[in-house]
């Protein structure tokens, strides 16, 4: 199959992990990509650690084998580290600069998490403060996820060559209500242009 690509989305239940998965699925479908998405429902949606596996042009087993994700989108940094063993040799990590410690625990600091990832995946880790951007742009952290998706498409040329950002924009209009679709579109485009400029070596920091 042409253009196989595996995306693992990791986050905390309640962050919109499933919605981001179905957005990518819709956009892929609109692009004529054969996509399979595996979700986890039920108990883990209540603030537990949560992943969605998205496989493009890979239509056999729905789960990504460890070590074979081409892109990991971490909606939260602890979860990104937890599932980083899924990332493959060439895989890229786009991680939200957000650390939500599970109640009553003392996990590593954001800096430690970031350094660990950079050491393990040199040159392939992008930390992005989606929450800050979302608040500046739309006044709410709710839009962090589409920002991260836009940013991922911006920094990851291989992903972008498979999935045209224009299809994501169509998918946003398809799955969100009219009012939130507008804000989501703006957020998506913003993340995309920031990602593109980072990839082009612009401001915003190189991956370490």
């Amino acid at each position: 199959m042409p253009g196989k690509f595996n995306i693992l989305i990791a986050g905390v239940g309640g962050q919109g992990v499933l919605t981001l998965g179905s957005l990518i699925a819709w956009a892929s479908t609109l692009s004529g990509i054969d996509v399979t998405v595996a979700e986890t429902h039920g108990l883990s949606q209540r603030g537990g650690s949560l992943t969605v596996h998205v496989r493009l042009n890979n239509n056999q087993t729905p789960l990504i084998p460890p070590g074979e994700a081409d892109l990991l989108i971490g909606l939260e940094a602890i979860e990104a580290v937890r599932y980083s063993y899924y990332v493959g040799d060439r895989g890229i990590l786009v991680v939200n600069k957000l650390r939500l410690p599970p109640p009553l625990t003392k996990p590593p600091s954001l800096r430690e998490l970031e350094e660990g990832l950079r050491r393990a995946f040199p040159g392939r880790v992008y930390f992005y403060d989606a929450e800050k951007e979302a608040k500046q742009l739309a006044g709410s952290a709710l839009f962090s996820n589409v920002l991260l998706l836009g940013y991922s498409l911006g920094v990851d040329g291989r992903f972008r060559s498979l999935l045209d950002p224009a299809r994501v924009e169509e998918a946003i209009q398809l799955i969100f209500s009219r009012k939130t679709a507008e804000a989501n579109l703006r957020a998506f485009k913003h993340g995309l242009s920031q990602g593109l400029s980072v990839a082009a070596g612009g401001a915003g920091g190189h991956p370490g």
Binding site: Q60, T61, D89, P102
Partner: protein, 627 residues
Amino acid sequence: MGNEAIARGALEAGVCYFTAYPGTPSTEIVESIGEVANEVGVIAEWSVNEKVAYESAYAAAIAGVRSLTAMKHVGVNVAADILMSSGYAGVKAGFIVVSADDPSAHSSQNEQDNRWYGYLAHIPVVEPSSVRDAYRLIKTAVEVSEKYNQPVMFRTTTRVSHSRQYIELEGDISASRSCRGFFDKDISRWVLIPAHARRLKERVVKLWRSIEEAEWGPPLAEIYNPGKKKVVIAPGIAFAHVAEALDRLSAWGDVTVLKLNLTAPVPVKPVLNAASEASEILVVEELDPVVELHVRAILNKHGVRAIVRGKDLIPEEGELSLERVLPGVAKFLGRDFAIPQTAKLVEEARIPPRPPVLCPGCPHRLTYYILKTAANKLRLRNVIYTGDIGCYTLGYQKPFETQMTCFEMGGSIGVAHGLSKVVEEPVIAVIGDSTFFHAGIPGSINLVYNNGRAMIVVLDNYTTAMTGHQPHPGTGLTATGSKAPVVELVEVLKSIGFSVYVINPLHIRESLDTAVKALEEYLRGGRVAIVSRMRCSLEAARLSREMKVSLPVYAVDEDKCTGCMACVNLTACPAIIVPENSKKPVILEDMCLGCGLCAYVCPYKAIYVKKPGGEGWEKLYTERTIS
């Protein structure tokens, strides 16, 4: 989604009547039908439990109307009584029971393999291998059911039910369906007295043999590359893993593969055909060796000599995946394979587990705090809290520990009753509203009747939260969103004989006083129940967005805060975090849903309302119906 594919396929197959009790991973089948039921002219119901769901749908099928009932694997246990009888009496129109199994118990108390039920009840089991298969095979399953006048179990697993694929629709939903039935008063068939049952058993045994011996081909049994010495038999989702494993080993040319989607009974001819030249056979299946055992029996009976491998090479516990199947398949084929090296981070070692927790604003957190504090006030330090199944099960964790058992739906009350007969400590059964209607009522009656010494607490959050907020008989809404009479659980408890105390946990101090009174009456020997009433905070948050009435948001006053961590340690609320390099907690504004427990427990009055709720916000939490 696989579940939507099943729903769509069933509509195309002319199924008219859909019933279910929600349960992961089955819920979206009937939920999605509920959204279109009025439009396409079918019936969709949330039943009070799986037994009633099965009975209702089965009744339609004996009156000649195609029907489907869906449940999670453990739900079939609840429906097992009628399931067994339906296998004897059969049906007059297509009837499907979807059993959505949960290997690895992602969201369940066990990972039982329900294909055994097919054998137990003589009900054929159809098992799809993918979302696309689910869409097609549900239609085949209806045909099989009608061909043999027998219920058919459609068994999915999490990775079929909760995966998504694009599907080209192959059929229409006929608009002109007649969902009217006719009940033929065939007493010798529908009344399972011993004489009738014995005769019906003869029917079933014959039927089972004829299904076993029938000429099954695609789509239920498909042989790839026949005539090889090595044969792989892959039922259900295992086929997807096997297919990818063979892709990676470039080994499709070396083996015969039988994709098997009828797993009870295992059809004889496809197995013999696949094994025609076999010296070695590997059965790759998830969970129990159901197909493996039957393949062994078939080969044995027909004098075919081949070595059968299965659970010696493929894990028996937990969900299968490529990396769990590939080594076994490679070994079977005598091939080397490379599993990619995965990066291990040092930091991973220090990553704490993140089990699910009660959400910010969750009424259960408030109720647990109130219960424990009331017990403390009365110096009861040894209370046994029996638990049940729902979001509130998460109270097993610190700091609450108000769930000390959790076995099955409704179990809290029966277990509390039994414990109260043999131990000295106070026993409190804690059960959710949906769970109370599902299986808590008989236990409550039994408790009163047999003079149990346990108290009951019902957590009424106006919804079935755990499975994604389905209505239930206490909510005044149906599966299609129309109005229904409210079955008032307070009245139910009163009529059973309980003295009922209703609390609104949003008012913590008042609720505490009431809880103390309730406990005092209980300690005096009263039959006491507390009903704690407050809407699920996720639902209140949804309403708040829809109605543009904001909920209050709390904040920590840094100057007053001493960093004592009472708010963190007493609530375990995920909206309260201690930032790096800080000794004082902060409340994440985007997550706070305004329940106010943290402010209540703060000894220094350092937590205040930063953004007051909109006009009438409290009603979002307290009123049962909001329009």
